[in-house]
């Protein structure tokens, strides 16, 4: 946690530095600035690193003129630096209200929300901030991506988290806390590293280490790390699932074996059932996929992917009505899932519902339009 704190302070410094430059623009000062005396005093206090005085003066300045954006920015960023996350968040919200495209400010608000436990809002702001260029500097990128992945894990978006952590593995960035964080995503534990108990720490760290090696592209070393993990923790929930998940893109058969192993240990693991069914469907083994898909949908009926694999399994085994029913459920649970639209297009086409098939194809093409590549 010390590491995160020190990193947060660094990113704060960098983000603030980025905005100091913006704040110097005539646009900013000319726009609804309060009395120049107050500005000068606040600025001087800030430059002298008299943070409490600077916060007080900026607070007075924005009280006098609430439409002064730079005052809100300095106030929010300084408050963040002192750990006053709630007022910092609110000050930054005033700033963002006036300058909606301020990527660093939005990202910094996300970091405030991370600290105040508003995880959904934090993730949204950090991702929005990144999209607006807040991660353009390497140091900022590390901090923001790290928090993004922590939040994705905390919110249960494990696949997204692992994808985000790939950034660190590919760039050779590592430290013990990062491995714990990756382990949490890999073992599908919706926790932050600080919440991991002492007893859990070695398992989570070992899983993170194995996954890190895989994400870094060192499959041989990763294989050894996973084998050791399985030996030391033979019944660790989701360990085989993690290895299977990582193997899936390059070796779906080996991945399937891991998913089936996970199901031996935990027959009610809906995610493992989904992935086993999916791997079997890709191998045109729909009759074998169907029981896994049924198990997934029974264990987790609100899991979109469970409804999706059940719909696909039913379609490929000839039950088109059943397929459409479950694919519609998957669509309701997750309207923008490409795989659901692809499956619906096929199911409608096989049912002779030509226009609905065309509609689903159009949606699928639309969903992938931005990713277009030439082969």
């Amino acid at each position: 946690m010390v590491l995160i704190k020190s990193r947060q302070k660094r990113v704060c410094t960098v983000l603030i530095a980025a905005f100091m430059l913006l704040a110097c623009f005539p646009r900013a000062t000319a726009q609804s600035a309060p009395e120049s005396d107050l500005i000068e005093q606040a600025s001087a206090a800030r430059m002298q690193n008299d943070i409490p005085r600077a916060i007080e003066l900026y607070s007075r300045a924005v009280e006098v003129n609430p439409k002064w954006p730079d005052g809100w920015w300095f106030l929010g960023s300084l408050q963040y630096g002192t750990g006053a996350y709630i007022p910092a968040r609110d000050a930054l919200s005033h700033y963002i209200g006036m300058i909606p495209s301020a990527g660093p400010a939005i990202a910094l608000r996300g970091l405030c929300e991370f600290e105040t436990g508003q995880y959904t809002e934090a993730l949204g702001d950090i991702q929005h901030g990144i999209s607006l260029g807040a991660a353009n500097q390497p140091r900022n990128e590390q901090i923001l991506r790290y928090h993004e992945a922590l939040l994705e894990t905390r919110l249960g978006n494990y696949a997204s988290a692992l994808k985000t952590y790939t950034f660190f593995a590919k760039n050779g960035v590592t430290n013990p806390e990062l491995l714990v964080a990756i382990g949490l995503a890999g073992l599908r534990m919706p926790l932050l590293p600080k919440d991991v108990s002492t007893e859990q720490q070695p398992l989570v760290s070992a899983a993170g280490d194995a996954a890190y090696r895989f994400l870094a592209g060192d499959e041989q070393s990763a294989t050894q790390a996973f084998q050791k993990l399985f030996r030391v923790y033979p019944s660790a929930p989701n360990a085989h699932f993690l290895y299977g998940y990582l193997l899936f893109a390059t070796d779906p058969d080996a991945a399937l074996a891991e998913f089936l192993q996970e199901l031996k240990l935990a027959p009610s693991n809906a995610d493992a059932s989904v992935m086993a069914a999916w791997a079997l469907l890709l191998r045109n083994r729909a009759p074998e996929a169907l029981p896994h898909a049924q198990n997934a949908a029974s264990e987790a009926p609100k899991l979109p992917s469970a409804q999706l694999v059940l719909g696909k399994s039913l379609m490929e085994t000839g039950d088109l009505n059943g397929a459409l029913e479950h694919l519609q459920q998957a669509l309701q649970l997750e309207p923008d899932n490409l795989e659901t639209h692809l499956a619906l297009a096929k199911a409608y086409s096989k049912s002779g519902r030509k226009e609905e098939a065309r509609r689903e194809r159009a949606v699928s093409l639309q969903l992938t339009k931005g990713n277009a590549t030439a082969n």
């Binding site: 499959e219 041989q220 294989t223 390059t250 070796d251 779906p252 058969d253 080996a254 191998r283 490409l338 692809l342 297009a345 096929k346 409608y348 086409s349 096989k350 049912s351 002779g352 030509k354 098939a357 065309r358 194809r361 699928s364 093409l365 992938t368 990713n371 277009a372 590549t373 030439a374 082969n375």
Partner: protein, 354 residues
């Protein structure tokens, strides 16, 4: 895993020539055995582009008729030389040369070679194109800029690619989900599509005729598209991969499904409604007219075809339909042309629909 793959590839390369002859014989045996009952199909299919989707170099007519193929791009010069049933692919930068024996020729018309080097498989950087009767950069590799001679050999295949290549271009190249080069039979043979054909043949030889493979003709048009799309790319695969632009014209199941007239349950619009995979590709445009008119009544007819009251008659012509409604589109490298299977009314100057 990588070490295992490398070992199996090396072993395969050593065995390739010997096993190749055996497998070729096996191919002929199966075809000739199937021919006992399915004479027409067995006679023509082995010479189709699918039947020759993969060839042993020593039995490859193209290499025999073109024993000295050469090409140069930038600092690298390529040769494909055939001498006494041995074909060698070489690339040189003028000071150093890498020469590799060709074990596998992919394609009957346009041809690419899969090469083995240091236990890894590569797609040859250059391919033969009938349209220019010469070598050129392999389709899709134009953007590669080799930094050294090793890279100039070709594109190293990703881990799963060899399985895909051999899975489509050969028979029995992938067994139980794993690439098994020692069992590769060149080209698409009976068993490739008609799973169970071999056991059916054996049973039939013993007088048992009730074990036929699944009848592919009974599949719906949607299912046929997905079946053929396993190699020609399904609609889903193309969308998932986000392939766009003229390059996707070669993925016929994708293009066909984009057609307004595509109906997954209408047998008149399936791949096999127009193409007999046991026959060479019919290139006469007028020969497909009857397929179109099965739905779209001729303007001279008094009523539209049965079952498709909304299928309009063409007001311009009643012959050579595909020349307008399935225009020829060149791949971006200009070397290979396909009829666009997105059947449509083509408006002058309209961009490629995507």
């Amino acid at each position: 895993m990588i070490a295992f793959l490398a070992a199996s590839v090396l072993a395969a390369s050593v065995l390739a020539a010997r096993v190749g002859a055996a497998a070729q014989t096996a191919h002929e045996n199966i075809a000739s055995s199937c021919a006992g009952c399915h004479a027409a199909q067995a006679r023509t299919q082995p010479e189709t582009p699918m039947g020759r989707a993969l060839q042993w170099p020593d039995l490859d007519p193209l290499l025999k008729s073109h024993p000295d193929l050469t090409f140069r791009k930038g600092a690298y010069a390529y040769t494909v030389e055939t001498r006494q049933n041995q074909t060698v692919y070489s690339v040189t930068d003028g000071t150093r040369t890498i020469s590799l024996p060709i074990h596998w020729s992919f394609g009957k018309g346009a041809q690419t070679w899969v090469l083995e080097k240091d236990g890894e498989l590569y797609e040859s950087m250059v391919s033969y194109y009938p349209s220019i009767d010469a070598l050129e950069i392999t389709t899709g590799d134009a953007d590669l800029t080799p930094q050294n001679l090793d890279e100039a050999v070709g594109r190293k295949l990703r881990k799963t690619e060899p399985k895909d290549c051999f899975g489509c271009h050969s028979t029995n190249g992938v067994l139980n989900g794993a690439l098994t080069l020692k069992t590769v039979e060149p080209g698409v043979t009976c068993e490739h599509c008609h799973t169970g054909a071999t056991s059916h043949m054996i049973a039939a030889q013993g007088g048992e005729f009730d074990t036929p493979p699944p009848d592919l003709k009974k599949l719906s048009s949607e299912d046929i598209s997905n079946f053929c799309g396993q190699c020609h790319r399904t609609w889903e695969t193309v969308v998932r991969s986000s392939w766009r632009g003229e390059v996707d014209v070669r993925f016929q199941p994708f293009r066909l499904a984009n057609s307004k007239c595509f109906d997954g349950t209408d047998p008149r619009i399936s791949c096999i409604a127009c193409h007999d995979p046991h026959q060479d590709l019919v290139t006469s445009e007028s020969s497909y007219d009857g397929k179109c008119l099965a739905c779209h009544a001729s303007k001279n007819a008094s009523a539209p075809a049965a079952g498709h009251s909304d299928a309009k008659a063409c007001t311009v012509a009643s012959t050579n339909c595909v020349s307008c409604h399935m225009p020829k589109v060149k791949l971006p490298n200009g070397l290979v042309t396909f009829h666009d299977h997105e059947i449509r009314i083509v408006k002058p100057g309209a961009p490629y629909p995507d």
